[in-house]
């Protein structure tokens, strides 16, 4: 029974023979993509497909849906909640939750309006102070959570209630405060760039992406590490260029690229880079993956937690400022209602896990667009609220089912 079939010995540094490598030929790229599709490692693709399906359906029901004007509105409609989502994502990456973002956006908006309108402080200074208010609030939340040990859910629930009280208190009995149509505040959402600027930004963005990626891959090759081929970089650049240039072209057909949307995109890109490319981002993921492992690695877990809550509230405040800018007013109901739910939902729909350590800043953009598109489309179709609610629910489920199914196949592979 003793039989022996020795395998040919290999030097350790040789690539592992079990690793399935696909060439860099177009066929190889497609094969790799297909494999990832079957393996459930699709990243954001299912949600993007979901978004495209939603758009196609609404467009077929109402031809105004994909009109430049509607798309232009859509970009502005998603900005405020999208920014809050961006902050929520940071907190979700930690494996925690922030219920206060809506109230913080409301109270920051109230601070802004009270300072700028009632106290006559220059609008730019008022904006800065409003955002700072958000930061301070976040530091308080983070400290109570990290240092005292109150669960984040309870801390931010108290924030949700308490800051709403502060907002009512600040606005006092007058309630709504109007802000001028022509100041720095209004400028934030009322500015559109002329076509040339839009094209310039698009070219710069795509160019930068291609350039930096190529450079990075070249450094990897030089260091003897596996790197993406030039063909793959080009393919990726093209995949990025299509929506960017397409978007700019469509927006230029209406008023141009809106400043507010660029601000939102800017935050998303910066947060994505911070999360993926910096020590700080690495530490956030580490704490979210295993706070104890991070602590044992010498990471100051408390500091990371406090800073993340501070960032989340800061972004909520920025979102609040943009909401004031867009509505030319702050009222007692600013930031309440379904704002919180939408901000968290956008993050989750975009693919960020509620359980920590997995997600990306782009979830805010994608999830926000999915939710924005659903609302926008249903308003265009004009239905009874009851029907609208039910259809929203159905579309929401459909938008994530593709993602869920692919994730499920991934889950079946996970080590338990």
């Amino acid at each position: 029974m003793a039989q022996q079939t020795p395998v040919a010995g290999e030097a350790a540094p040789a690539p592992d023979p079990r690793l399935i490598v696909t060439g860099s030929s177009p066929r190889g790229l497609v094969a790799a993509a297909l494999r990832r599709l079957r393996g459930g490692e699709l990243g954001a693709l299912p949600v993007i497909v979901g978004l495209i399906v939603i758009c196609a359906v609404f467009q077929s029901l109402n031809s105004n849906f994909l009109s430049p004007q509607n798309l232009s509105n859509l970009t502005l409609q998603v900005v405020s909640t999208g920014l809050m989502s961006c902050g929520v994502i940071m907190v979700l990456l930690l494996g925690e939750i922030d219920l206060s973002v809506g109230s913080v956006s409301g109270v920051s908006g109230a601070v802004l309006a009270v300072l700028a309108v009632n106290h006559g402080i220059p609008e730019v200074a008022a904006i800065a102070l409003a955002v700072l208010t958000g930061t301070l609030i976040g530091v308080v939340h983070g400290t109570v959570f990290a240092k005292v040990g109150v669960p984040a859910f309870v801390v931010t629930l108290a924030g949700l209630i308490g800051w709403q009280g502060a907002q009512l208190y600040l606005l006092g009995s007058d309630g709504t405060i109007n802000v001028p149509y022509d100041g720095a505040i209004a400028y934030l959402t009322q500015t559109y760039f002329v076509p040339a600027v839009g094209w310039g930004i698009a070219v710069a963005a795509v160019g930068l992406y291609a350039g930096l990626t190529l450079l990075g891959e070249r450094r990897r090759t030089a260091a003897g590490l596996p790197a993406k081929s030039a063909a793959e970089v080009i393919a990726r650049t093209v995949l990025l260029a299509v929506p960017v240039f397409g978007g700019v072209a469509v927006l230029n057909l209406w008023n141009g690229v809106p400043l507010a949307f660029l601000i939102f995109l800017g935050f998303v890109v910066v947060f994505d880079l911070v999360l993926r490319k910096t020590r700080y981002g690495r530490m956030v993921f580490a704490v979210g993956g295993s706070a104890e492992a991070a602590r044992r690695a010498g990471i100051n877990v408390d500091l990371i937690r406090i800073s993340v809550f501070a960032l989340a509230s800061t972004l909520a405040a920025v979102g609040g400022v943009l909401a004031v800018s867009r509505g030319f007013a702050v009222s007692q109901s600013s930031g309440s209602g379904d704002v919180l739910m939408l901000a968290i939902a956008a993050a989750v729909i975009g693919g960020t896990s509620l359980f920590g350590g997995r997600g990306s800043a782009y979830s805010a953009l994608l999830g926000g667009l999915v939710l924005g598109a659903i609302t926008s489309g249903l308003y265009l179709l004009q239905m009874d609220s009851s029907v609208r609610y039910m259809i929203t629910a159905a579309v929401l489920l459909i938008a994530v089912i593709l993602d869920a199914v692919s994730r499920r196949s991934r889950r079946a592979h996970a080590r338990g």
Binding site: M1, A2, Q3, Q4, T5, P6, V7, A8, G9, E10, D16, P17, R18, L19, I20, V21, R35, R36, G39, E41, A412, H413, R415, G416
Partner: protein, 261 residues
């Protein structure tokens, strides 16, 4: 020899870009201890999970007492009579020791748990494995590595399995506990069970195994009768080379009791 109780052939399993198992076959007879050997990452645990229904194979067939069966979920494997001790133990950290021992097989009357009966049985079982655990009612999260491993081993003895798979059961165990587990494996063999034992400890393998099956980079790399094979032959099959760090180290140091036979 009798008909194999479990026979696998042509098993392949892929995780993303990694082909973890390619065309692997394995046979276990009743009353036989088969050692599954291989380097780190060779695919041993993956094979165990395939058999246990945790991660079913992509392709390949599984014969149980001669009949082809499909094992799609862990419950299927348990139904057949396969008990598994996983390398990562698979305990519920929030539950106490008794609850973990009986997980999925709780003793109950009309759905109500028989806590007293379970705790008494648990106490007996753990005492027989000579492990000292201060209290049976603490969550397993607070146990030491070896204590956890003993819990996982004890658990597999509660059913009435026909095949027991142990994935590095003694990795975290003390010398006394290891001796007990080796005794236990021999008892299982004597009761006519098929045993699949994964271990990196050649001494343990040589002590209890009848046959050694070597995996290398996800493929079969040899099948030896342990009695007839030298330590060096097996290590060479595992590392895939006669010139390996073990041999080099053995040539350099000469400490009494180091693992070469």
């Amino acid at each position: 020899m009798s008909e194999p109780v479990l026979e696998l052939s042509g098993i392949s399993k892929r995780f993303g870009a990694v082909q973890a198992l390619s065309d692997v076959s394995l046979r276990v007879h009743p009353g036989e201890v088969v050692a599954l050997l291989g380097d780190n990452g060779a695919g041993k645990s993956t094979l165990v999970k395939v058999i246990a229904g945790v991660n079913p194979a992509d392709t390949g067939t599984l014969l149980w007492e001669g009949r082809p069966v499909t094992v799609a979920r862990p419950a299927d494997a348990q139904q057949l009579g396969i008990a598994t001790i996983y390398q990562d133990l698979a305990l519920c950290d929030n539950l106490d020791i008794v609850a973990n021992l009986f997980l999925g097989g709780e003793r109950s009357t009309a759905g109500v748990l028989d806590e007293v009966g379970m705790e008494r049985r648990a106490r007996e079982l753990l005492d027989s494995l000579s492990v000292s655990i201060p209290s049976l009612r603490v969550p397993v999260a607070s146990l030491s590595g070896g204590q956890r491993q003993i819990i996982a081993i004890a658990r597999s003895l509660l059913g009435e399995p026909k095949v027991v798979m142990l994935d590095e059961p003694t990795a975290a165990l003390g010398v006394a506990q290891t001796a007990q587990v080796l005794d236990l494996i021999e008892r299982l063999r004597d009761q006519g069970l098929g045993v699949i034992l994964i271990s990196h400890n050649m001494a343990d393998v040589r002590a209890v195994a009848d046959r050694a099956m070597v995996l290398r980079l996800g493929r079969n790399a040899g099948d030896f009768r342990v009695e007839d094979t030298s330590y060096e032959e097996i290590v060479a099959a595992i590392t895939g080379a006669a010139d390996n760090p073990v041999a080099r180290r053995a040539g350099r140091v000469a400490v009494p009791g180091s693992e070469e036979a």
